[in-house]
């Protein structure tokens, strides 16, 4: 392309051609971040379940804090690899997840503080609340990307979150190590399945273009 003057028709053609070429709702690997988070969380959930099952020790649940290490690693990696283009779609999705991330951090801090203040184990509530936050995030991402599977699979996983909240509210039932397993299953539904669907669709869309 050169620095030459255009006639009116050429100008309009060029505008439409450029807008079309930069318009992309789906790009290859869009689902990768979901898969990374999904597989890491699921493996951690199953590992904590097995370790608690075998050793009968509750302290393995502190293993969930490893997700913060993973989060820090992902943030560092993202900063060192700036994307070539930031579309309005990806900006909106990033902002949704940033807000949900802050909500998660606040939740963890508040419930750790309450656990310390009331001398009662309240941090377990972070589990159903995280499922709700992740589910809301995946659904909103699905709405922005117009991906039906992502909009509705979190609703199935919400049942697990509501079950957990119900158990916490009930006076005669207590959470058990199976919660780790339920959490892992919810993450498979909310992140791994939509992540693979998204990558498959992106591959198809990009191979057509």
């Amino acid at each position: 392309m050169e620095d030459r003057a255009l006639n009116e028709k050429e100008s309009l053609q060029l505008i439409s051609q450029m807008i079309q070429s930069s318009k992309q709702n789906l790009e290859v690997g869009r689902g990768n971040e979901f898969l990374l988070w999904g597989y890491t969380t699921t493996i951690l959930a199953f590992a904590i379940f097995v370790l608690e099952w075998v050793t009968r020790q509750d302290f393995w649940s502190f293993g969930w804090l490893l997700l913060f290490v993973f989060w820090a690693g992902m943030t560092y990696f993202r900063r060192s690899k700036k994307p070539q283009v930031v579309t309005y779609t990806s900006k909106a999705i990033n902002q949704v997840w940033r807000v949900l991330g802050y909500m998660f951090i606040i939740t963890v801090i508040v419930f750790f503080a309450l656990t310390y203040a009331f001398q009662a184990s309240l941090t377990i509530i972070c589990m159903p609340l995280s499922l709700l936050y992740i589910g809301i995030g995946v659904s909103i991402t699905g709405i922005i990307l117009q991906e039906r599977c992502m909009i509705y699979t979190p609703l199935v996983a919400f049942v697990i979150a509501f079950y957990m909240l119900g158990v916490l509210a009930a006076p005669n039932i207590t959470p058990d190590i199976w919660w780790n397993l339920y959490f892992g299953i919810a993450i498979i539904l909310m992140q791994i399945v939509p992540g693979h669907v998204l990558n498959c669709k992106a591959k198809k869309v990009c191979s057509k273009n």
Binding site: L14, T87, Y88
Partner: protein, 95 residues
């Protein structure tokens, strides 16, 4: 009466850059170069012209050790683009 076409936008490469930046939030130099198929030298000259006119904002930083230039359309640039398209429409409808 025809509206005058903005001479800054009425050029192939600058119009292409503005059209791309209108449809994304932010794009880097490499992306613009790929989409416009322009040479690096020519592209940087045109980006400089658009930036001097206040139509785009250019941010230069480093990602790792590599220099990184990202461009964004400004409200002034958006307005100029809209006026340019309006002027184009009036030309075409009167032909």
């Amino acid at each position: 009466m025809f509206k005058e076409l903005d001479p800054l936008l009425h050029s192939q490469l600058r119009l292409a850059v503005m059209s791309i930046l209108l449809s994304v939030d932010e794009a880097d130099f490499v992306y613009l170069k790929e989409k416009t198929e322009a040479t690096a030298g020519n592209l940087s000259v045109q980006i400089e012209k658009l930036s001097t006119a206040g139509y785009i904002s250019v941010e230069k930083d480093f990602v790792g050790r590599k220099p990184h230039t990202s461009c964004r359309i400004t409200p002034l640039g958006r307005k100029a683009f809209e006026d340019y398209v309006e002027a184009l429409k009036s030309y075409i409808s009167n032909q």
